[in-house]
């Protein structure tokens, strides 16, 4: 079966307008190269996977994920801020596009209780 892999380099930073972590909302910004833009890094990873025996990998595109914490009154406001940041700095519209995913509030609160390792959805090891 043909499968598509997506590889992300995660960079984490916080955006605090107020001191402390209360009143912040988390979101993820996925930035990827637009279809058609050269991605030699992805191509190299695909070759490496093929060398490992994963001949069924049809394509690999590399990208970046930013996990951002925003001080905002509500998720909608936070998302708008993230969109602004993604347009201004996190992505370059000539070569990249982006997708924003807001983190559900109970995921975020479980992170506050359990520490940063449990943040932003389930990450497999």
């Amino acid at each position: 079966m043909k499968s598509r892999f997506s590889v992300g380099k995660a960079v984490w930073f916080s955006y605090f307008e107020y001191v402390g972590s209360t009143g912040t909302i988390k979101g993820k910004v996925f930035v990827r190269k637009k279809p058609g833009v050269l991605d030699p890094e992805g191509a190299t990873i695909q070759k490496a996977l093929a060398n490992l025996g994963y001949k069924q990998v049809a394509s690999v595109r590399s990208g970046k994920v930013f996990e951002v914490e925003v001080a905002a009154a509500n998720p909608k406001e936070a998302e708008e801020k993230l969109r602004e940041m993604a347009r201004k700095l996190l992505s370059n519209p000539v070569i990249e596009d982006f997708r924003i995913e807001m983190v559900h509030s109970d995921e975020a609160s479980s992170e506050r209780e359990n520490g940063p390792s449990a943040k932003l959805g389930v990450f497999e090891k």
Partner: protein, 301 residues
Amino acid sequence: MKFGVVTFPGSNCDYDCYHVVKEVLKQPVVYLWHKDHYLDNCDVIILPGGFAHGDYLRTGAIARFSPIMREVADFAMRGGMIIGICNGFQILCEAGLLPGALLRNQSLRFVHKPVYLKVERNDSAFTNAYQKGQVLKMPTAHGDGCYYNRPKEIEQLEESGRVLFRYCDQEGKISEEANHPSTRSAGSGPSAKLPSTSLDSASSTEIPRLRSLGYAPSATLGTGRDRSGQVGTSRDKSLRVDDGVFDNGSVNNIAGIINSTGNVMGMMPHPDRAAEQILGSADGAGIFFSMAARFAGQKVA
């Protein structure tokens, strides 16, 4: 005529640029710190090479928000001459002062070696000291120099003759596509209207436009371009590294471009590192002399 060299944290060619202006061009020059809010009445602004802000996120992405860039953008709007070399080119692209973007080299390698460049037009503020079609030798030193833009905009760039430099081989040939008649539609754009020079190689060094019109990145990526098959006509010659066309994946072999008003130029190779014969080539000095000549002309007029 006063030059200003902007130093960002991470710039490493600011001294080279300063040296060339002061010792080769013999003109007054000052350093401008990236946090400055004024350009100190400079007539030309140089954005030097290096790794501004560590090249984090994307090359030039953070540097473009340095305080001085607001002044640099205003200066560009007023028609001031700006040249971005290497990292400076990347910053100008990120800032939107030049179109397009510079991607990771197709080889994924940082390449530092002398390359050949073809001068596409000699009527610009930055190339008037050269002949059209002249082949220059200067070093490149970059990991992200693969020029990319949307196919439509590449077409516009080519049609308005805004490509100043292209990577070529020692004889000025760009690739075997250059010899293919179907890749060039005759008589389009100002570059075609420019008076042809006495260089007899002019017809064989015409621009390959096929890639600009139907550029297929995935096809070139998958097969890997066969250097020995593409470069020049003689297979033996292509084996010598210096004779080959430098290939970082740039669309149409673009190495340097100007903006639509002709006062902002960016290029990946380093004229600042090839402005004196003792360094192996003095070809880069022409760019600095061109700017001086254009400025002198402006003052008279």
